[in-house]
Amino acid sequence: MTNYLDFEKPLAEIEGKAEELRAMARANEEMDVEAEASALDKKARELLEDLYTKLTPWRKAQVARHPDRPHCRDYIKALFTEYTPLAGDRNFADDHAVLGGLARFGDQPVMVIGHEKGHDTRSRIQHNFGMARPEGYRKAVRLMDLADRFGLPVITLVDTAGAYPGKGAEERGQSEAIARSTEKCLQIGVPLVSVIIGEGGSGGAVAFATADRVAMLEHSIYSVISPEGCASILWKDSEKMREAAEALRLTAQDLEKLGVTDRVIREPLGGAHRDRDATITAVGKTIASMLSELDGRTGKKLVKERRRRYLELGSKGLAA
């Protein structure tokens, strides 16, 4: 069962019809529907191409949040071996919105850290929909420290609507936890590469995505505020999210022009969820190539260049 986004409705109809025809043919062997069904397939493909080659920023935001999009755990499972999750912030709790642990990327031992949104109701609740609490950021700080001490490169996978806005999270110092995580990203003397695989939501994303190299999937987004939040503040109307998404310049393509992201990873036609394996493989290749760019650099040099990268950000603007 495919989950369709609202702008994919016409596509859903065509694909649904093709599926129906084939189901009828299976029930009744005399029917020959293949010609008709493949015509529908062709039409669907054309429509898909049409929709996805010119996705508006708001539609990209919807694709970035697609429930079937591969999530952190899918990447960890497919791209790493010997993944050994490490839990807890040693202060208060273990935050399941943040996954992290030791793993091998190829032969290389690394530390992998990321936001996990969950894939069904139960796991979404368990992972708090990928919205981390202070414990999540403090766990990340602890893991980055560990990686730093043992010379392991750090790979972060970013996919969060933002840090969790809750009473307990605020009481336990959500802001301080995020600030410390960003600070740690700027301190560690090991390679740090980040991939925004879905949503890069505000401070909750910066805390992991402050890296030597940042890549984004083609239809992922990275923004200071959600389009809905921005619309309700600046337009006083949360229904103006299309306009807000446009104005915020949150697409991977715009962010590459601004120098915020170094690479844009192509997604299969119709978005990452239409061919999860191909997406995951492409992300793996990008991680390998980003890590190899940083190969052989001393810790001091890495830190110096990472800081310079951020100090220099903002010198490039976008033409209208």
């Binding site: 840090a163 806005p165 809750g166 009473k167 999270a169 605020e170 009481e171 336990r172 110092g173 959500q174 802001s175 301080e176 995020i178 600030a179 410390r180 960003t182 600070e183 990203c185 700027l186 301190q187 505000s202 401070g203 910066v206 805390a207 402050t210 990275y222 923004s223 200071v224 505020i225 921005c230 503040i233 600046l234 337009w235 306009e243 807000a244 104005a247 915020l248 310049r249 949150l250 962010l255 601004l258 915020v260 800081r307 951020y310 100090l311 950000l313 903002g314 010198s315 490039k316 603007g317 976008l318 033409a319 209208a320």
Partner: protein, 315 residues
């Protein structure tokens, strides 16, 4: 009734009677509603003289009271790209900027200065909530970096007064990138072994709290200041329940271990002098009428530290 009301012609009379209560001499406390005499309020640093409520204060007013004799020199902030995203909501971003500049008479939402505070050389930066909600954009980032670089060059502590609704949405991702940028600025100070003191004022929220405002060596807040990551309205919407009284206020954060102190604005200067002098390994401050520069400082009772600043700026 006096002779004017009786003898002066009605038109002139009306002018005189209008002058009886000019509006700008009095302001009303936002909290207790008492009418406060303007000059008195200003002398009390915009803290209500009857209920102690802390009202907003501009960076310039704050610096006039903070630096000895009100003398400071501004540190130049590198100008960022103007409107990098060509942002437009209901208004164009450059129009919003011009309106804010006109309303405040300031160029941007942060003022950076160097000078002496109780004969203690410092660099200070203050955020201006009246300028687009104090929002952190590229200029504010540049200002904090400039402040840190200047402090490192002069080997002085940096005192930062935060006040902001968060990141400046009109600069999109580039405003978000000020979180790591300002964090680098804080790291410059730490690596140079210089104190970085944050005074959190009402309100300090969002990306500002989640970066430089929470990375200080010492955190002091003004009473009842709202300090948070997610604002109370956002949390109430998410949870669907009312939050307790005083939630996310300075005293609440002090209770939860996020602050070192909550200090009234009127006592802040003395406290900042005491702390920075100890961290910088200097002698206790001389209070009251300061001797001419060159005389070595003598110990003085701490309560005298809140005496008004000396008439002449120290060299």
């Amino acid at each position: 009734m006096n002779w004017i009301t009786n003898y002066v012609r009605p038109r002139i009379n009306s002018i005189f009677s209008r002058r009886d209560t000019p509006e700008n001499l009095w302001s009303k406390c936002d909290n207790c509603g008492n009418m406060l005499f303007h000059r008195e309020l200003r002398e009390n640093l915009n803290v209500c003289t009857s209920c102690g409520h802390h009202m907003a204060i501009t960076p310039r007013e704050r610096f006039s009271a903070l630096f000895d004799g009100g003398v400071f020199s501004e540190i130049k902030v590198p100008a960022p790209l103007e409107d990098p995203l060509r942002f437009r909501d209901q208004k164009r971003y450059p129009d919003r900027m011009r309106a804010a500049q006109k309303a405040t008479g300031e160029k941007e939402a942060m003022l950076v200065a160097e000078g002496e505070m109780g004969r203690t050389p410092i660099v200070a930066a203050a955020q201006d909530f009246s300028f687009m909600g104090g929002s952190m954009g590229m200029y504010v980032g540049n200002a904090i970096i400039a402040a840190a670089e200047r402090a490192v060059a002069l080997k002085r502590p940096l005192i930062l007064f935060s006040a902001a609704g968060g990141a400046r949405m009109q600069e999109g991702i580039l405003s978000l990138m000020q979180m790591p940028r300002t964090t680098v600025a804080v790291q410059m100070l730490k690596e140079a072994g210089l104190p970085y003191i944050v005074v959190l004022t009402h309100p300090t929220t969002g990306g500002v709290t989640a970066s430089y405002a929470m990375l200080g060596d010492v955190h002091i807040a003004e009473p009842n200041a709202l300090i948070c990551f997610a604002g109370p309205r956002v949390i109430e919407q998410t949870l669907g329940e009312k939050l307790p009284e005083g939630f996310q206020r300075a005293e609440y954060l002090l209770d939860h271990g996020m602050l070192d102190r909550v200090t009234p604005r009127t006592e802040l200067r003395g406290e900042l002098i005491t702390i920075t002098r100890m961290l910088m390994g200097l002698n206790p401050a001389v209070a009251g009428d300061l001797p001419p520069p060159g005389d070595t400082a003598e110990a003085s009772p701490p309560e005298a530290l809140n005496a008004p600043p000396a008439e002449k700026p120290a060299k």
